[in-house]
Symmetry: C2
Subunit: 312 residues, 2 copies
């Protein structure tokens, strides 16, 4: 198993990424190899400083990078030697089993769709994220930004993708899937959610439990929450800001702690032909470590095969 | 000045509404009269118990009510003697200067549009709510549920309505108006927000400061936040649930305390020809009191005249 990691991605790269890789390597099995993509000359001193054996890693050396502010499509097409571009090239060739980066989100999305491409039958891939449940564990919220405008059939598919992810990667049995809406009754909502509710109500593809409202996001019985990428992105950023406020004000609590992105490492792109994970721009070594472990879990669970089979 | 209050609206009516009216009456001037609409026979013993002089109030007696679960349009048309219906009838006739209720939100919205009607030039009225600013005071968020599907010209008008409200009722000077979006750059967003940004950028009707993201909702420099009613409702309910969680967990903080709806009493419907305020279903006497005082402020500020002038 080859787990690809862009060591140049994120605000604290390559230091945070390389140190995160070191931590992850302590947990990975012998047949699970981390492939570090980026500037090897910058990585080696960091490995040495951490007392890590550089022979445990494979390297794909490059000095080119895609910056956080660059236009995704332009960057991916005009910088084939950038770490993100190389990662996707290797992923497409099968030299990697997964690829993750805490770098340019748009480039990760575009890169995945250009290289490994969307699973046949999937209209649009979605970015999924974790939402903490009140008691313990996490629900899955999608889409959180890949698709600002959605149609009902796209949201229906997000339900399928989220359900498969919750089941195979998180081990939820018969995951419950809810539609984020502005009323519990099926006739409530905007044109998109009313039409989506009708589709979801009839589907046999997942366990639809109906509409939920903004206040129900953290309920323990909900495994997957479906919304368009505009709503999901607003919700995600609002939740992050609340978490940041509780931290700043010194509130300490198990539930709020589980908003910490470090704990789950990154947001997978669901619906493309390989495990691809986007890390938070401010990822620290702990977050990178967990992004690598999530990559491994996605590979081990054969999540991609499950998606392909479901959309066949 | 005649301030109309539905004493039958809300989960704790008529007790909470009548006690709230008593508290408000202690603050109102002699020429500011509270008109209590609902079952007078139920109200009198509550007034007596509170040691209040019933002659300070005017009464419009009725035993009919509209329940929380009733279909708004049906209820308003089929129950002309219900407290909400009577309130709007009196408001339309000019016998009241404002009307508020913590009862059926939909009936309040439909009632206002059927009776006093939308201000000429306003495409769709919006429900506005308070969002606490980090340091102190409140921003205004609209729409939070009146219009699940919006078009760019409707959102542009929400900017005007919110700006007028922040200026005249909250005393904000040259209020800053932001568009809730999923990126700060003007090309970011969904089709609705991208088109709306173009309109807002060109408007002279208010002080547009650009896009904000979900994480910026509480920033001190933002007076008005515009979004469609779907997004606003999800945001509002998510924020309420966070506040409820901080309470449940015993966190105590000035900022979080300002999420407490009791402090501002209710959500005005902006864009109709009279001050109309919808209270929270769980309103207690403190919330009712503040809803009455907000009604008075809307009347005193001649907010409706400002709206009419702006849309002429």
């Amino acid at each position: 198993m080859k787990i690809g990691l862009d060591i140049m991605g994120g605000d604290y790269a390559p230091r945070a990424t390389v140190l995160g890789a070191v931590e992850a390597s302590k947990i990975l099995s012998d047949n699970q190899t981390l492939v570090l993509i980026g500037n090897k000359e910058l990585a080696l001193p960091i490995l040495e400083e951490a007392g890590a054996d550089s022979s445990l890693f494979e390297f794909v050396h490059t000095t080119e990078t895609i910056g956080m502010g660059e236009h995704p499509t332009k960057a991916i097409t005009q910088k084939p030697q950038a770490s993100i571009s190389l990662g996707f090239q290797l992923l497409k060739e099968g030299a990697l089993d997964s690829f993750s980066s805490a770098g340019n989100t748009g480039a990760m999305l575009v890169g995945s769709m250009f290289s490994v491409k969307t699973v046949p039958g999937v209209i649009r891939p979605a970015i999924a994220t974790n939402v903490p449940k009140l008691k313990n564990g996490f629900g899955v919220l999608l889409d959180v930004g890949a698709n600002a405008d959605c149609k009902p059939d796209i949201l229906l598919q997000f339900g399928m993708l989220g359900s498969l992810y919750a089941q195979h990667v998180y081990g939820a049995e018969n995951p419950s899937v809810a539609l984020l809406n502005i009323g519990e009754e099926e006739e409530k909502g905007n044109m998109l959610t009313i039409a989506t509710h009708s589709l979801m109500k009839e589907t046999a593809a997942f366990n639809f439990i109906g509409n939920i409202e903004g206040r129900d996001l953290f309920e323990d019985h909900i495994d997957v929450i479906v919304c368009d990428g505009f709503t999901g992105n607003v919700v995600l950023k609002l939740a992050e800001s609340f978490y940041a406020l509780t931290l700043r004000k010194g509130f300490k609590d198990d539930f709020f702690d589980r908003f910490n992105y470090e704990q789950y490492g990154g947001s997978p792109i669901l619906g493309v032909n390989a495990p691809v994970i986007i890390g938070h721009g401010i990822s620290n070594p702990e977050a990178i470590k967990n992004m690598v472990l999530l990559s491994r879990n996605m590979i081990e669970s054969k999540f991609i095969d499950k998606v392909k089979a479901a959309f066949k």
